[in-house]
């Protein structure tokens, strides 16, 4: 998933030169799920999530409707735009867990252009998240995770798995791009590895 987001943002870096940073975080606590910045400054994501948390608390206190909350912060040549990428159902009436995308633009832009660029980035990353969250991807990811958690050497296990499935290692970065045959081979390799692990631990 992380590489899918990298790949999606990479498609926008050239066409939108004013795009400076993007952060995918999870509200209400502002955990950072993924971030990119043009100047490789990951710490900026921590500042942005702090900002988003403060704004969320403020909107909550103001009683703003959850589905319409967004943020646009404007300086002379810098804009910060944030809004939920996706709401989840884990809403108990007090907290609303959701993915938030925060984007920073820098440069000579008018507000209208910022809104237009922001819409494009939201749509593009949202589609990437949806595409990488298909049921079969989630299932393979969950199975891979169990193997990783039970492995003594997780990297070696992943290398072995890729070789067993005859899939180039780098392709495991983006499971959603695997073809049907590759999915089947990976599922079979995972099954074999799970079996091997079970036998070894019994």
């Amino acid at each position: 998933m992380i590489r899918s987001l990298d790949h999606a943002i990479a498609e926008l870096i050239g066409p939108i030169p004013e795009l400076r940073a993007a952060v995918l975080s999870v509200a209400p606590d502002g955990l950072v799920g993924w971030c990119w910045s043009r100047e490789a400054e990951p710490e900026i994501s921590l500042c942005l999530t702090q900002l988003e948390r403060a704004v969320s608390a403020c909107q909550e206190a103001l009683g703003a409707a959850r589905d319409s909350r967004s943020l646009m912060l404007t300086a002379k040549d810098t804009w910060v735009v944030a809004r939920p990428l996706r709401d989840t159902s884990a809403d108990d009436g007090q907290t609303c867990v959701r993915l938030i995308l925060t984007i920073v633009f820098s440069g000579d832009l008018q507000t209208g252009m910022v809104i237009s660029h922001a819409r494009r980035v939201f749509a593009h990353l949202s589609a990437a998240v949806d595409n990488a969250s298909q049921g079969w991807c989630e299932q393979l990811r969950a199975q891979l995770l169990e193997l990783v958690l039970s492995a003594d050497d997780a990297s070696a296990m992943i290398e072995h798995l890729a070789a067993d499935a005859a899939i180039e290692l780098r392709r495991l970065d983006r499971i959603e791009t695997l073809g049907e045959q590759e999915q089947l081979r990976l599922a079979a390799a995972i099954e074999r590895e799970s079996l091997r692990t079970r036998i070894a631990t019994e």
């Binding site: 990479a10 050239g14 955990l31 490789a40 009436g93 997780a154 290398e159």
Partner: protein, 205 residues
């Protein structure tokens, strides 16, 4: 986050892609150049005997990709060995120099000198430092990315125990990034808040 520090550190003008292409053509090298913006890989250029033969970036290949990559003036470059993977570029890239640059001869000379120095370093280290291409580095990246994303999913599902388990595991397997540490700290604060709230009398809704 990846750390690609192949660009020269001297306080001179940082060479752009086109500067490297000029020097590489002069030296008739076979080389691959991977381009990075921030921590993200944005493209690949293949050069055979000093001639650009291959270019790709997400969403474009060939001439269109080369034109877009040449316009990314802030990109960092990471070299790798190039073995022919086919050719998809017809564009005379020399035209890109004038298309994207309007610097004086002094700055150009400085950039070309910096590009020559960087190339010399790359070749003498046999392209050392391309850690992302090392199988073990790649496998570790797969593992860390998986743990990073699955911790987000667990949090979205409201499973704080699982989120913490995955973040702790992630920290034990890879470099202790400020982001992973900050996520753990926020998660622990949330749990403390939860414990505190559970000790308070509940207001009727």
């Amino acid at each position: 986050m990846h750390n690609h520090t192949h660009s020269p550190s001297a306080p001179v003008e940082r060479p752009y892609l086109v500067d490297f292409l000029i020097v590489i053509e002069d030296q008739k090298l076979d080389i691959g150049l991977r381009l990075w913006m921030g921590a993200i890989e944005v493209g690949l250029i293949g050069i055979s005997a000093g001639r650009v033969v291959f270019a790709e970036l997400p969403g474009a290949t060939g001439d269109a990709a080369l034109r877009l990559l040449a316009s990314l003036t802030g990109a960092r470059l990471a070299p790798e060995s190039w073995t022919t993977r086919g050719s998809n570029v017809d564009l005379q890239w020399r035209g890109l120099v004038d298309e994207h640059e309007s610097v004086g001869p002094a700055v150009r000379k400085e950039r070309l000198a910096a590009a020559r120095d960087a190339l010399k370093d790359w070749i003498s280290s046999d392209f050392g430092g391309s850690e992302d291409e090392a199988p073990n580095g790649r496998a570790q990246r797969v593992v860390l990315d998986l743990l990073d994303w699955c911790s987000v999913v667990a949090y979205l599902d409201g499973d704080l125990d699982r989120t913490e388990e995955l973040l702790v595991r992630r920290r034990s397997l890879g470099p202790d990034t400020s982001i992973c540490s900050a996520n753990l700290e926020r998660l622990r604060l949330r749990r403390l808040d939860g414990e505190f709230d559970s000790t308070q009398p509940r207001e009727p809704r």
